[in-house]
């Protein structure tokens, strides 16, 4: 499915990653500063690697002569703190990526996603009127509605307290089971990965290992 062989350098930090990711959920664990978020940014196309290649389902997204920009990769990315658009209500946030798809590309519709994440009653609200947990659920929904080929999750629960984490984890599990979407789940909390992931990799000092 996804296979990478990447090298990236910024200042003294150096990242090296070579891996093949299967379907299902792959957890990537590691301490903060180990390069987990950088790896996701490279996969999403927000950063350019110094050398190497990214291939997905037989398509080359990045190598020496080719760089597919992020808006054409069709990967979803969920940030630590949601990054909902503050000037749009929940509904417009959810539909931001969805509206950019051809009808034939749409694998998820609004209503089922609202039900799945239990965010229906929030539709008309603004992000500033949501709690941290609600915001993160909307961010998940927004990424889902873009029908990504791969979902990248960058510590999606780390800004939430323990109680909220326990509330959202079941939603993620449900997402995994009902959508069968391949996911890369980056976190420093091994408990989350044990609960969700089918395979686990470790990241340390910029190096990715199985």
């Amino acid at each position: 499915m996804l296979s990478i062989d990447l090298e990236f350098q910024r200042g003294t930090f150096r990242l090296q990653a070579q891996a093949d990711f299967g379907t299902g959920v792959t957890g990537i664990c590691g301490p903060s500063g180990s390069g987990k978020s950088t790896l996701l940014a490279l996969l999403a196309g927000l950063l350019k690697p110094r050398a190497g290649a990214i291939r997905f389902d037989g398509e080359t997204l990045c190598d020496a002569g080719r760089f597919v920009p992020p808006w054409q990769r069709h990967f979803g990315l969920v940030f630590q703190d949601g990054q909902l658009f503050p000037h749009m209500n929940v509904r417009d946030n959810l539909l931001y990526g969805y509206r950019r798809l051809e009808p034939a590309q749409r694998r998820f519709e609004l209503q089922p996603v609202l039900d799945l994440l239990e965010i229906g009653p929030l539709e008309a609200r603004r992000p500033s009127q949501l709690s941290g947990g609600e915001r993160q659920r909307v961010a998940l929904g927004r990424a889902l509605l873009y029908s990504p080929r791969l979902l990248l999750l960058d510590e999606p629960l780390s800004s939430l307290d323990e109680r909220l984490k326990q509330q959202i984890l079941p939603f993620l599990r449900r997402m995994k089971e009902e959508t069968r979407l391949p996911m890369l789940y980056v976190t420093h909390a091994t408990a989350e990965v044990e609960y969700l992931a089918d395979q686990v990799m470790r990241m340390e000092g910029g190096k990715l290992s199985a």
Binding site: G45, P70, Q83, F85, P86, Q129
Partner: protein, 234 residues
């Protein structure tokens, strides 16, 4: 209440300030964005050039404009000979003088607004399939709106008050370049002009106050729409 001459000055002021603001808007957005987002060698030079009119005596930019765009000036002669366009001593020149003087006031808040936007919001939009232009129009620009409005108001108010550069570049020609500040100055120099000068001075204060209040109200509304302010506050 106002004499025809005073009304003409008022109308000219409004026309010139509006055109100057309109001219500064796209350029100010482009320059503000560039200064906030790009790191390049030329940045310091552009920054200094943009801010220069604010710290120079206003006559100097006016005089420079005259040297460049006057009918015998470097660019002015070419414009005149090739296109028959005259800028010096016309209302178009007054627009240009106002725009040059007001431009720094447009750029500053716009630049600040762009600099304050979390880049990850734009990245989020990018990973949702939006191309760079689409990201700019749907995320960056709306989020910078309060700064752009602030810039517009400052720019317009500054243009209304423009005096020194206008005087040097286009003079004080009634019906063509004689705006309210120039008219006030003129009236204070003729016997019996005090009453007219006073009326126009009071009018200037009223207009400036109205502009600031309007800007404040528009800005509050924009901030609420952007979610910077909770709805409960109003």
């Amino acid at each position: 209440m106002f004499s025809p001459d005073e009304l003409t000055a008022l109308w000219l002021s409004a026309k010139i300030a509006s055109w100057a603001t309109l001219l500064c808007l796209p350029l100010g957005i482009a320059t503000g964005w560039w200064l906030a987002r790009r790191d390049s060698r030329g940045k310091l030079a552009v920054e200094v050039l943009v801010q220069l009119p604010m710290v120079l005596p206003p006559v100097v930019p006016g005089y420079v404009l005259l040297l460049l765009l006057g009918n015998q000036g470097l660019i002015g002669r070419w414009l005149n000979e090739s296109f028959g366009i005259t800028v010096a001593f016309t209302w178009k020149g007054a627009v240009l003088a106002s725009a040059v003087m007001a431009f720094p006031l447009m750029v500053q808040p716009v630049r600040l607004a762009f600099a304050m936007i979390d880049r990850r919001l734009e990245q989020a939009a990018t990973t949702l399939g939006a191309r760079p232009w689409r990201v700019f129009l749907s995320v960056t620009l709306p989020l910078a709106l309060p700064g752009i409005i602030a810039g517009l108001v400052l720019c317009f108010s500054r243009s209304l008050g423009e005096f020194g550069a206008t005087m040097a570049f286009v003079g004080s020609i009634p019906g063509e370049t004689r705006t309210v500040p120039l008219a006030i100055y003129g009236y204070t120099h003729v016997p019996g002009g005090e009453a007219a000068a006073e009326r126009l001075a009071i009018l200037s204060v009223a207009l400036a106050t109205a502009a600031l209040v309007a800007a404040h109200l528009i800005n509050r509304r924009a901030e609420r729409l952007l979610g910077y302010r909770p709805h409960a506050e109003h």
